[in-house]
Amino acid sequence: MSRFVGQSVQRREDPRFLTGQGTYVDDVQLKGMLHAAFLRSDVARGRLVSVNAERAKAHPGVVAVFLSGDINPGALEMRISSAAGSDMPGPPLRPLADSDVRFVGEPIAVVVAENRYLAEDAVDLLEVEYEPQSPLLDDLSAIAEEGVELVHPELGSNVAATMAVPNNDAKELLQSLPYSVSLELSQQRQTHVPMECRGIVVDWLAADNRIEVYASTQNPHEFRLQTAQLLGLPENSVRIISNDVGGGFGQKVYLSRDEMCIILASRLVQSPIKWTEDRRENLLGSNSARRDDILVSMAADDDGRIQAAGLQHFEECGAFPEMGTGGAGVAVAMYFPGPYRVPIVDWSTTSVWSNTVGRQAYRGPWVAETYARERVVDELATQMGMDPLEFRRRNVIQSEDLPHQHPTGPVLTDVSCSQTLEQAAEIIGYDSFRAEQEEARKSGRYKGLGLSLYVEPSAFGFGALGIEAATVRVLPNGTVNVTLGTGNHGQGLETTMAQVVADELGLDFDDVVVRDGDTDSSPYGAGTIGSRSAVIAANAAVNASQEVRLKVLQIAAEMLEASVDDLTIEDSKVRVVGVPDRGVTIREVARTAHNSPEALPSGLPPGLEATARFQAPPVTYSNACHACLLEVDTTTGIVNIERYVVSEDCGNMINPMVVEGQIAGGVAQGIGGALLENMVYDTDGNPLATSFLDYLLPTAADVPDIEYGHIVTESAVPGGYKGMAEGGAIGAPAAVANGVADALRPFGVKIRDLPLTPSYILGLLEPELLDR
């Protein structure tokens, strides 16, 4: 039955991308289309006194200049998500800044002109007056204190959210046990950097009271709902068309305020408007991620078994974060024990507002938990004089321990943490490495091996997020159209979902075409986010296919005068089992279904299609182990990653090639986060890395050939799938950091910050080189 699922089928979507025939938002051209550009605040905090648009409005080619007074009243409802209640706690949302500004990059005005060049000329002519105030940023615990200046005066506090589950027994053990380590760690602000920036073309069809939006989004239906809410339009008057999307990683999940401004502006002009975010805007004005301060502790008994752990976590959520009041603090705490048996945990998490761009979920938003845990495990092992691999072996959850409930809540089933640990260690040659490391040290060369073991929660089953829909339609000629409520943006869903449907229907892969992204034709679903497609979308496709398959068999049974139970479908043909020359093609069945209703079994309606949904369990866990072999040049601080191994278990793989691609992309982002990327703000609240010359992404020369091992432990979900696509980014930073720590072990340095730049590493070795 499984002809395609499990195979590395080449992707159907590739030819158009390879030949430049993809359609991304900036490729869309509508008649009479105008172009928008934003004026953005260059003050992080202060009163917005005035904006003078006289000269800008008079500039040739300028159609309109909109300020907050023009745009904001049109926003009937602005919510962080369509499901969020209007009483959801959070900062006051506004499309354009009105009387004050709260971060550098906040949009203040929109210019609409005949082309982008002219729009930018006009932006240059806008005159803004501010009364700057001192911004609140950087020192999170200081900002969180009572009685300090406020980022959002309306909210009375700079603490966006806080939660703690103290555990005195844990505190006691962390103090009293001889083997106990406490680490101060900090993760720098990073940003998603999809290669395609955000963008939108809005076409307000006044005569129909309809709006059509070409969007670069991971979640077309959500985009539709939020647009409808914003404008006070019924949802069926809003169409979102998301063709090809050049990456998202979480930055394109909800309707952002910049997009809201353009949508609102479109109602004020007679023509379609296009806004393409440029890269500088993307780096400083699109929500970013990851800024965390962590105090992590762990204590073990004399046998190296973890007795207690502590996690005090601060996260910076900027001024207008995606999720209203914060980031992933609670998730960080929940998943912190990860793949180990940790009996008790004392934890707290606090999200703090600041005058910086807002925080947004970015591939593995709770990565701080793996980073903190894997680092403290290595340091505790070192304190005990135990090899980090051995320490992990003593604490990793074994199959016989399952199901295992963490003190922080999550219950793990179907994971294979121990197996991935062993497989990764074997592939990288862990045992022989220690001897190699010793040899190298004798000649002044410092090699290190870092492990990172983690569990990845995926396919969350909350609310709409846990449900996906698929419509499977068999056309009269026997070929199939499938539409999904997903928002494919590189995951290969046109291929993987076709593999699934083709197998279910016994068809050829080439006979199944899968599409998503157009809300007029796709069923309502929750997009492509949170590693949900394999578990939820595939099963929706399966459910719809099974309904169709049953009907195919019923019709064929009538045509063949056989019983449904005696039939099988293979190679697009329905045959009687054991009688190979008796059969009808799917095409013949489809023809009958559509054109010859009289030939159908009595009671069976004509047509051959189904829409079905799948509802996921609360969460599905995959797991993996990363092993990173590197060398640190102690004269320059340069890190060279020589080998990188990932042993992963995501249950059954629909397309192994696609799985490995997802791992690789995540690993590269994690390497970037560990060594290169840093969205720095200066003390005045100016983001400093606003071009690719300063925000450094890894290139082909920075990512080694990744070696993979696969373990298959089926999930309880039909198909045995698990979501896994964020894992690469979750595991990698700790693997690299542990590798560097391992390399520099002889020097006894304390690694606190990321990224591990050459300057930082050399500063660790020679403290007089450091600024602080």
């Binding site: 550009a37 060049y117 080189l769």
Partner: protein, 308 residues
């Protein structure tokens, strides 16, 4: 490193435009040096010369540079080409980096150039970027100004009123600032050819390959008949606001036939008298520390090559 790209005038009464489309300008495409000079005499104060554009165009797109006039000098045959003379190699300022990189005459006559070029950006950049453009742009962290300085290159300049030439050490005045006046054009660069037993090396540290260097050293050593060092050039880049010669270390090398330990000690003198800079990628202390290591590495290689 590129403060321009990460800074903006916050005193200004306009907000942050984050532009990527350049402002309007009048475009000229002269075909001779005299035509360029004529244009510069007329509009030089309000014009930018466009060579490879790999540095200028991004700045124009981001509106960090605004100009009313752009003079495209890529079609002027007189300022292109590579010509080996007796004691020097003459390179037209508008010769692309790619052309020079793959030229075997260059490899033989001025090996330091051939060593430096693969480190300049990426090959797509070098297909358009020019030798003269890079030198005239004078980024403190780029390789070619440092090579010109190391080799005591002679820079030929055409002006609207007169032509002149300058040694490299008088050409670089500050960050992105050279001795070129508004009405002047760099036409040729003469790179001295080092005869006899010489060796060259260029070592740098960059966050990723092709990035501007955090620190770098371009080195040339020549040996006399008795195998002592007769000529020594150490040119540091990325550490100060211009490329700089490590004069104290150079003096210490002359007349010597250093052992590895002695080379190491001399390398430590490399930063004497040099004011080292700090930016978001590295602080001054780091730059000092690694420059010494880079100088040592480069000297070792160059000496090895010179000794044959």
């Amino acid at each position: 490193m590129n403060e321009w790209f990460s800074s903006y005038d916050r005193q200004a009464s306009r907000g942050l435009g984050v532009e990527v489309k350049p402002g309007p300008f009048t475009y000229y495409r002269p075909e001779s040096i005299s035509e360029i000079s004529g244009l510069l005499a007329e509009i030089g104060e309000n014009a930018k010369l466009l060579a490879g554009g790999q540095s200028l165009v991004p700045m124009m797109s981001m509106r960090l540079v605004q100009t009313e006039n752009v003079i495209d000098i890529n079609r002027v045959a007189e300022i292109q080409g590579i010509e080996r003379q007796e004691n020097f190699l003459r390179v037209g300022a508008a010769t692309t980096q790619a052309t020079v990189e793959s030229d075997s005459v260059v490899g033989e006559a001025v090996p330091l150039l051939t060593q430096a070029l693969p480190l300049v950006g990426h090959f797509q950049i070098r297909n358009r970027g020019t030798i003269g453009g890079s030198i005239a742009h004078a980024d403190a962290a780029s390789e070619l100004p440092a090579v010109a300085l190391a080799l005591d290159a002679e820079l030929h300049i055409a002006g609207s009123k007169k032509d002149r030439s300058l040694p490299a050490e008088e050409f670089f005045e500050g960050l992105w600032t050279t001795a070129l006046e508004a009405d002047e054009l760099l036409t040729h660069i003469d790179f001295p050819i080092w005869e006899g037993n010489s060796g060259f090396a260029l070592e740098e540290i960059a966050p990723r390959s092709g990035d501007f260097a955090l620190a770098g050293a371009a080195v040339g050593l020549k040996l006399a008949e008795d195998s002592t060092i007769s000529q020594a050039a150490i040119s540091l880049f990325g550490v100060a606001s211009t490329p700089v010669r490590a004069g104290v270390a150079e003096t210490a090398l002359r007349g010597e036939s250093p052992t590895p330990e002695e080379l190491s000690d001399i390398a430590k003198l490399a930063l004497e008298g040099i004011e080292v800079r700090t930016d978001i990628h590295a602080n001054a202390a780091y730059r000092r520390r690694v420059s010494v290591a880079l100088v040592e590495k480069a000297l070792t290689k160059a000496l090895g090559e010179a000794r044959g």
